[in-house]
């Protein structure tokens, strides 16, 4: 089974949680952090990451800050006030989702 499909629906809370921990991050940093934390288990593609970041920015969950890094411009993403609230909700939801999965996959442990 394609593992990235399993993670697909969880990308949003994963990124929100990362930003909640780190304060602000840029695109490449997010991909590397996720890769490191999951020991290469989850590799976020750029085609999945950037549209998601742009969508969250448009929804007012993320805000951006541009910074000149030598000869290029870096776009930092951070959670807005409402984004922080949304993160808490998203994490509660994902925990409930994991519990449900646990019940289905391994009823004895649930």
């Amino acid at each position: 089974m394609n593992k990235s499909n399993l993670y697909k629906g969880c990308l949003e809370p994963i990124i929100m949680q990362l930003l909640s921990d780190k304060g602000r991050m840029y695109g490449y940093e997010i991909t590397q952090k996720v890769k490191d934390l999951t020991k290469n288990e989850l590799q976020i593609t750029e085609g999945a990451l950037y549209p998601l970041l742009h969508r969250l920015e448009a929804s007012g969950i993320l805000e951006v800050e541009m910074e000149n890094i030598g000869n290029r411009v870096r776009k930092y993403y951070s959670l807005t006030k409402s984004g922080k609230k949304q993160t808490k909700i998203a994490l509660t939801e994902i925990q409930a989702f994991l519990d449900t999965l646990q019940t289905l996959v391994n009823p004895k442990l649930a």
């Binding site: 085609g47 950037y50 411009v73 870096r74």
Partner: protein
Amino acid sequence: MLSDQYIEILHQYCECKGVKYYDVQTELVDHLADAIIKSQKEHPELSFREQIAKVDAQFAPDEFALITKNKSKAIRKKYFSTFKEELYSYTRLPKILFLFFLYALLLSLHAYSQYFYFILQLLPLYLTISFIARKKRLKISYGLYLFDSKKPLLSLKSIKWVYEKIIIVTYIPIILLSLYLRFKGFDKTSNFFFFTALFPILMVAFISAVNIMYRIRFQIEKDYTKAFS
């Protein structure tokens, strides 16, 4: 740190991949530059072109086009939300006072000037001439230079798109109403409806559109200085 020349090559690479907008390119260039710097550390024997090819292999063929397409949708949504927030701000005190002032001004113009409808139609007329002037590349547009930049920007194109839609939706009814009232004359009902409800609402929408257009334009200019110099 990659040299200016390499950064320029990365911009060209993005352009070849179908990303023609500078603001979309900058984010991808930053991403690619970081990926290449990492790759250079792991494989210092490879040339810059080979490093690009290596990083390129990690991207799906339509990934860049997908990013641009989705960003375009997201950015328009964001600007429409900004417009809605701006409209909403007119329900709070300092701006409510401004609305009353506008309303009083309109009423006094109507009461004291026989040229009221003429004045009312001047702005849309100027707007129309400006659009034509813009098409003909004449330098008399009503501030449409605000949408100009040296390099194409998706954010600028999107705010122009949103701005034009709002102008069409708000100003066309103003023109039609003013023309209707000009030629058909008033009765008490239409007078009341026009001045107390519809016209201030349309004006607020118009002012909000202009306001956010300026605000976003200057933010874009601040964020992407190189696209304007």
